[in-house]
């Protein structure tokens, strides 16, 4: 007969408000095999855990059920407590009567009945629980950082400085990301490139950092401490070892009028190019789509002028597989586009703002390039349409953000601040110009942030209009802005020379497919999900993968850098050990029952199933059976549900355990 202890938590009032915890304890106490059933205000607190430990000794308990919050919250806490009390931690289970019961039901009677059911099911499960021993696996002390923006750079430098090797993978030809595109940064207005480029050079020169630019993640295998990553090194058409970065190829390339993505289409670049002069590495890439040689087979000028003979038209994509122990994902963001979206997309553009067809309606990043001293206009604010200096500039905040009709309901967090910055930069460069800002709320929490915004209003005389814009349309060479001021309660019309839209921050295109390769979860907008909103903000639910920067949610530079360093610290915590204990939730084969059909092998997503030969003492082969490599097994249990002879068991989720629960329904 089992001796199970059941502890029902009040969670302050979170549970006891709707669930009669005393009654739950009393009812459960009547079940056979339950040696103790009691309730307590806060089970997770120190005295709560103490209560549990004491009970194990006093009542000689051989199984525990803690009826409290979700196991995702505190399973580890209570299993550790069980361990401290001398019990195998896997004999301790949680019954979720908070998230799945007290918080989602109002009727006290119903909620209590449900709570009793939930706990009863768990009691029956614990009766079938078996002691499990943790599995230890070695750790490869090398990290992969995906994305070479400020988040990836910071994380890579921190880990590398700690003495571990880092692979930094960047999709574009150069690292730097969006921060390299910015003009000046709030709230101090220091030049973005001035603080960014030294860091980029540090990355290039760091002995522990291996840089893969113009590369993408192709495939990821393995698990925490033991990932196998396949990187696609796209054909650069330039030999990185030979190239000296002299730039003569770019100067001589006859194809000069390709719109520069880095300059948001305001400037042009040649077909063989580096995105910007301070690029790291300073090795050009041939844009094969626009290169005359690749299009017609004629030209070849770059190869002819290249002294070291670095241009290589025959270069092919290369696939490189590297072992790493931890992964930091720092893929960043992109700006929402107001252009019409393809049918079926849940995100809509802004037809009322012209769907991006009015040339002098630009987004915030384009304005950054206009204002940047190294930008296509040399830092002069000039209209894209006719190169005139705009005298009336209208800024519109919350374009795409906080607009659930368009498909995005979140706040993009950085727009209030960068719009205030834009009005200042504009005023500094066009003294007789006037900036207007249509805004809904000015959200400026942060050190020196609100002061910054107030400065834009009070000293730089930006006119802030509390209201939104219904429509923009071209009238002659002006753009008519139809807005309203809800404080006055009247409509506002401004004939603007330039309109700057603070468009929403979105995850990168393809963020979902990268997440699928990594096996990490993401929300409806494709932002990557952290393991816990408050207590595990940089970890993924998938062990060994960490998040940094705007790929997890909109963030400004200071927040991004903090999170990147936090992710790096998590990687270093992992690397501080030589071996890793992992949950022993793995499949085991009952070799006597196995009929060697290898259905399990076919369905195993990890390739953990091997064919094992059983021989007699003389070495004669008797038969072949399946064997699950516990180091590789991910613990999904698909093999068990598939096995026709019921010869595989997933520890922690055995048929016996599951059936015990179903029987108790």
């Amino acid at each position: 007969m089992s001796r199970i202890g059941v502890f029902v938590c009040h969670c302050g009032e979170n549970i006891s408000r709707t669930v009669d915890v005393e009654r739950v304890a009393a009812e459960i106490g009547k079940l056979p095999g339950v040696a103790l059933a009691t309730d307590y205000k806060y089970m997770c607190s120190d005295p709560g855990q103490g209560l549990l430990k004491k009970a194990v000794a006093e009542h000689k308990l051989d199984g525990l059920v803690v009826a409290a919050c979700s196991p995702r919250m505190h399973e580890k806490t209570f299993r550790n407590a069980a361990k401290a009390a001398g019990l195998n931690p896997f004999l301790c289970e949680m019954a979720n009567i908070r998230e799945h019961c007290s918080w989602v039901h109002e009727d006290r009677e119903e909620a209590t009945a449900k709570a009793i059911d939930i706990v009863r099911l768990m009691v029956e499960r614990v009766k079938k629980d078996k002691a499990l021993q943790p599995i230890t696996v070695p750790i490869t002390k090398r990290a992969l950082v995906i994305g070479g923006g400020i988040a990836g750079i910071q994380a890579a430098l921190d880990i590398a400085d700690c003495g571990h090797q880092v692979l930094l993978v960047e999709r574009e030809p150069s690292i730097g990301g969006h921060m390299a595109q910015l003009s000046e940064t709030f709230p101090t207005l220091d030049c973005s490139q001035c603080i960014m480029t030294p860091k980029m050079v540090d990355v290039a020169n760091h002995p522990n950092i291996k840089l893969y630019t113009w590369s993408e993640i192709e495939h990821v295998d393995g698990y925490i401490g033991n990932f196998q990553v396949t990187i696609r090194k796209k054909a650069r058409s330039v030999d990185m070892d030979k190239c000296t970065g002299c730039g003569i190829c770019m100067a001589k390339c006859p194809q000069k009028n390709i719109k520069s993505k880095f300059d948001c289409g305001l400037g042009t670049r040649p077909a063989i190019y580096v995105p910007f002069p301070q690029a790291v590495p300073n090795t050009p890439v041939i844009d094969r789509e626009n290169c005359t040689y690749f299009k017609s087979g004629k030209c070849g000028v770059c190869a002819k002028v290249c002294g070291p003979g670095a241009v290589d038209y025959d270069q092919q994509d290369e696939l490189i597989t590297e072992p790493v122990g931890a992964i930091v994902v720092a893929t960043g963001f992109e700006l929402y586009s107001i252009a019409e979206k393809p049918k079926g997309s849940s995100i809509k553009g802004y037809g009322e703002f012209g769907h991006g067809t009015i040339p002098d309606v630009i987004d915030g990043m384009t304005f950054e390039r206009l204002a940047s001293a190294s930008g296509p206009t040399g830092g002069k604010i000039l209209r894209p349409s006719d190169g005139r200096e705009p005298k009336q500039v209208v800024f519109v905040q919350c374009v795409g953000s906080r607009a659930r009709e368009k498909g995005i309901s979140y706040c993009s967090k950085v727009c209030c601040m960068y719009t205030a910055k834009h009005t200042m930069l504009y005023k500094h460069k066009v003294h007789d110009g006037q900036a207007y800002v249509f805004f809904m709320d000015a959200r400026t929490p942060g050190k020196s942030y609100d002061e910054f915004w107030r400065r834009a209003v009070e000293e730089e005389e930006a006119v802030y209009i509390r209201g939104m814009v219904s429509r923009l349309y071209q009238k002659g060479d002006k753009i008519v802005v139809m807005g309203s001021d809800v404080l006055v309660g009247v409509q506002v019309e401004i004939e603007a020379d330039l309109v700057v839209l603070a468009t929403a921050v979105q995850p990168r295109q393809g963020a979902d497919s990268l997440a699928q390769k990594l096996g990490i979860s993401y929300d409806t907008y494709n932002f990557y999900s952290e393991a816990h909103a408050k207590l595990k903000p940089v970890e993924c639910a998938t062990a060994g993968i960490y998040l940094a920067g705007a790929c997890q949610g909109p963030k400004d530079i200071p927040d991004t850098v903090s999170q990147a360093s936090a992710a790096a610290a998590k990687v270093m915590t992992l690397f501080s050990r030589d071996q890793l204990e992992r949950e022993p939730i793995v499949a085991r084969v009952n070799e006597r029952n196995c009929v060697a059909c290898f259905s399990c092998k076919k369905v195993c997503p990890y390739g953990a199933v091997e064919e094992k030969e059983i021989r007699d003492r003389q070495g004669n082969l008797i038969r072949v059976v399946a064997y699950v490599n516990p180091g590789v097994c991910g613990g999904c249990g698909t093999c068990q549900a598939t096995c026709p002879s019921k010869s595989v068991e997933l520890d922690g989720y055995t048929d016996e355990q599951v059936m015990a629960m179903i029987e108790a329904l």
Binding site: E340, Y350, G351, E352, G354, H355, Q474, K475, V480
Partner: protein, 293 residues
């Protein structure tokens, strides 16, 4: 090619009165293009704006009644008036989504609500079912040189989920249709603004104000004329144009055509069968100048 397109037809009240030239020219164009058009017998008023303004249930019931009457006539339901189109589509939409409202309407009309029949505006029929290429082929007298301001008004494309005709903020269907005739659609700013609609009766001052902005915008864009697909818009822009000019001290002299009148000219419907003489702002000087009559 054999006549394959066949529609049931809901003209709406205006097309039997103040917009009879719209009715006449629609029939003319469809005949010329060999598209069948059979009027639903004994149709009722759809309730238009006044009904849904104060009594949604009445509005939905009237539309549901008309939809069930239309079931007796073969072919998708062709609707000419933008207001009727909007009401019928909205009714289909609301009644599909809302079981409670559907049950109430079923009680009101003492019968099942039928929502299957596709309701199509003439524009949709011409641009999508008939096809722009075929339309261009059918043109006998191209309207070359005629600059047309295509006016959608509010109801043709709104609200976004209901009419499914075209993008509600940047539609192109009217431009595409008129461009097929060789005419030149102008880019102008007020094609989706409200003309004042049914305030024409109760508060004509409103109309003078709003419609003036529309006429001014069309003039600014260099349009020779305005093309509409709604009798209410036509009423405000054409019938009240003189008043608008007087109230604002300007002169527009801007003919306002129904889309089918211009299409009729292009596909060779005799000018006498297009009701051009019913227009208040005389279009003949313009048409003569362009060599179209």
């Amino acid at each position: 090619m054999k006549n394959v397109l066949n529609y049931s037809y809901y003209p709406g009240c205006s097309l039997h009165a103040s917009a009879k030239e719209y009715d006449e020219s629609t029939k003319g164009v469809f005949k010329a293009l060999r598209i069948g058009l059979n009027e639903v017998p004994d149709w009722f008023c759809c309730g238009a704006t006044p009904a849904h303004n104060v009594d949604e249930l009445l509005s939905l019931s009237l539309c549901a009644k008309n939809l069930s009457l239309a079931d007796n006539v073969e072919g998708d339901l062709a609707v000419a008036c933008a207001a009727c189109f909007s009401r019928l589509k909205t009714a289909q939409h609301r009644l599909t989504e809302n079981d409670i409202k559907r049950k109430q309407v079923e009680t009101a009309i003492a019968g099942a609500v039928s929502l299957e029949k596709p309701v199509k505006h003439l524009l949709e029929i011409l641009a999508k079912d008939y096809g722009l290429d075929r339309l261009a082929d059918a043109v006998k007298k191209p309207l070359n040189g005629l600059k047309v301001a295509t006016y959608y008004g509010c109801l043709l494309t709104r609200p976004p989920d209901v009419p499914e005709l075209d993008c509600c903020e940047a539609p192109t269907i009217m431009e595409n249709v008129i461009a097929a005739t060789g005419a030149e659609p102008v880019a102008w700013s007020h094609r989706l603004e409200c003309c004042g609609a049914n305030f024409t009766l109760s508060r004509p001052g409103v109309v003078l104000n709003l419609s003036n902005a529309i006429l001014a915008s069309a003039k600014r864009a260099g349009a020779d004329c305005i093309m509409v697909a709604c009798p209410l818009c036509h009423g405000n822009l054409d019938i009240r144009q003189k008043e608008i000019e007087e109230a604002n001290g300007t002169r527009y002299g801007m003919p306002v055509f129904y889309m089918t009148q211009l299409l009729g000219l292009a596909v060779g419907v005799p000018a006498g069968k297009l009701g051009l003489d019913s227009m208040i702002v005389n279009p003949l000087p313009l048409l003569k100048e362009k060599g179209l009559v």
